[in-house]
Symmetry: C2
Subunit: 438 residues, 2 copies
């Protein structure tokens, strides 16, 4: 048991290497993950539904030959509970869909199964991936929110229950929980992955997301999910030439700690010879926060057509969003879509020599209390523009209540459909942060 203790917190790539080298077996890691779940799930509450150890092992042994020869070796993965799975319910965090059992796997799930991952269970989501939280607590401080909407996926990875989990983002649903829980979060460019079987919230905004412990782990997922025949060699760490800094104070509240962290990161970049420039947006990004909300409201009201006929079962914030969407005129919706396109063009033509934008992934550390999942304004502008984004945990602050450490996360924002270039920069940044020794 002693040796097994740390196996659950190895990153995925590290684990696969250890298995290949014979330093441990996939079964050792699986058992370590279940040890952790059994020890912690009662407090963390990351899972909406999950296999128990016996069922998992039974399945593993039944197909052992396949798993042993597979890329992912039968290691467990968490699946956000708005992503359909043929063998587990998908309830979308809503009482309306209690016990809802889809007939198919989402394509992303089918691809991971084919690569030899085993879905250990469905991770808690807020109600329809919007605001109303589920039962999950932040594993770094159980009195704090894990963030949302991909709450359970972020918490499960942060707590070492699985090394990889799938999520989705329409506003800030991957980037913020990754920051609050202190893990790597990745949101793909809009349109990049098949969303078949991922229950949509707003088609102009929804993106697939992945949580992991290290950037290279998430990068491996990107490769499998994009179903390319050849590994993506372009994804090696690369020192950027120039980074644009968006400190984000003008988008909404930012905590002093976060401002300090951003300044600190900027200093680190400069020390390594990376040019930095303050992003001057003439108020466009703040407007984008509002446009994002409008696009979301309009589309949610159409996507949740069935559910919005059962208003009494929906939360107050979701009902308010649907009402806002139903009251909106079509011209106003188009105006917001158009603004997102125009702003995206403006951003990358004005900063055409910039490798990525660096910004706070959230206003600060995870807020106290489980009744709200934190503010999404730091993600709305980039999500409206459909850009790829990666959260990196950069610094940890002493926890106020129980002296555990609280993570702060930054986000790196890339060009649309240039996810690989963003990964290269993120891997370099990750190694710099590691050297900083926070």
């Amino acid at each position: 048991m002693g040796e097994r203790e740390s196996l659950n917190i190895m990153g995925l790539s590290h684990a696969l290497l250890a298995i290949e080298r014979g330093e441990c077996t996939a079964l050792d890691i699986i058992e370590a993950c279940f040890d952790r779940i059994e020890a912690r799930e009662a407090q963390v509450g990351a899972w909406q539904y999950r296999l128990d150890r016996e069922a998992y092992l039974q399945h593993y042994h039944r197909y052992r030959e396949f798993y042993e020869s597979s890329r992912l070796k039968g290691l467990p993965v968490g699946i956000k509970d708005i992503i359909d799975t043929y063998d587990m319910p998908t309830e979308m965090g809503s009482a309306i869909h209690k016990g809802r059992q889809p007939v198919d796997d989402a394509s992303c799930v089918a691809l991971l199964r084919d690569a030899g991952a085993i879905p250990l269970g469905k991770t808690v989501t807020t109600e329809f991936a919007y605001f109303k939280p589920g039962k999950t607590a932040n594993p770094r401080d159980l009195k704090r929110t894990p963030g949302g909407s991909s709450s359970g996926s972020a918490a499960a990875v942060a707590d070492g229950m699985v090394s990889i989990a799938l999520g989705s983002q329409t506003a800030a649903s991957v980037i913020r929980p990754a920051a609050y829980c202190g893990v790597v979060g990745y949101v793909g460019s809009r349109g990049e992955y098949s969303l078949r079987g991922v229950q949509p919230l707003a088609q102009s905004l929804d993106s697939l997301g992945v949580f992991g412990r290290k950037v290279e782990d998430v990068q491996l997922m990107r490769w499998l999910l994009s179903r390319h025949q050849q590994p993506l060699r372009a994804g090696e760490p690369r020192k950027p030439n120039r980074i644009a800094i968006c400190a984000g104070e003008h988008l909404g509240d930012t905590d002093p700690e976060m401002q300090f962290a951003i300044k600190n990161m900027e200093a680190v970049l400069q020390r390594h010879g990376v040019a930095t420039i303050q992003l001057q947006d003439d108020g466009l990004l703040l407007k984008m926060v509002e446009h994002h909300q409008r696009i979301m409201a309009y589309e949610v009201a159409r996507n949740l057509a069935y559910e919005s006929l059962h208003r009494e079962t929906l939360s107050e914030p979701l009902n308010a969003l649907i009402d806002m969407g139903l009251a909106m005129g079509y011209a106003s919706y188009l105006e917001s879509l158009q603004a997102a396109e125009v702003t995206r063009g403006w951003l990358w033509s004005r900063y055409d020599d910039v490798d990525a934008v660096l910004a706070p992934a959230a206003p600060g550390v995870a807020p106290l209390g489980l009744e709200k999942t934190g503010a999404p304004h730091m993600s709305r502008p980039w999500q409206a523009m459909g850009l790829p984004v990666i959260t990196l945990p950069v610094i940890t602050l002493p926890g106020i209540a129980d002296r555990e450490s609280l993570p702060l996360g930054i986000q790196l924002i890339g060009r649309a459909r240039q996810d690989d270039a963003l990964f290269s920069v993120a891997r370099w940044m990750e190694s710099m942060i590691a050297k900083m020794g926070f």
Copy 2:
């Protein structure tokens, strides 16, 4: 029975008016539709699954109060069998999904039910809305293809089994079968409607579609599907100022009859004082045919992740498409996406005073034989650009074999997200065509 005979071929709006005026009841129309189905379904084969008369009437009577006070009065609608329905199987034209019973309604189905439509059944689709045909024959000449992939929806409306049916288009799957069967077909701008529960084929290309007998019927569907609170007043018939003509010979084969029909339409436009201009595209649209194929191949290979692990159950053309998609490089996929964006911008800036483009909806009349669904090249360029399109039946030629009339269809192509403006032009064109008295 005599009086009932024509009730099934009234357009939806006409039917609703007749019910309102007490000239007939919804039940009269429903019975007439079932009379037609029972007389013709054995030859036409429009339905993959359907309610029988008794089940339909039982349901209608059980909720009679709701239907009588509803907008659509309990009238029947056909649903393409790639669109999920909670109470009927959705098999996607594939043996892999034989008996597949979804747990939810697609949002478009939920909206139509809420408006008082009753899904009479699931209409035949080609395999996963790609090439391999189902059992459907063209009701205008049973030895000819109805076109695909929304074969059953087009045939059911054309044959008077229902007045309205839902379809979808990734290449030419609405526009072409509407033309071959002689009904109105509409493809919404990309992103315009919720596609939740519509099984995706290629996310950058998929659009929701509607078949009906008259443009105003389809326009009513648009209003219900877009869930706007107020009826769309902008949709009244409007004479266009200028129409660009794309005769389409450079995109691929075009039959002499179709060339004649386009010239004829052009003359009619000019006679009514509408300026026409020949679309000069410098070969861009032909390139777009190829880019469309590439985008489709790349994305289908990802969306059909699960199914493509069971290659032996897929048709040869679908396997070839998946192989093409898997072999494609990412850069090449991006290049095609980019080309579609650039060409869309080029088209509407070069022809900025044009109300719509007029083009053949298909190379000619429906080809003989049921083993293929006809060529999609007339639709690929517009679909790659995500534009709204309406098929209008313009002329009928004497059938070669059985002396029935064979329809020719033209398409009107509008600006992205300006579907209402396109409907106005289409209604005006429809009235001109009616006056032509073909």
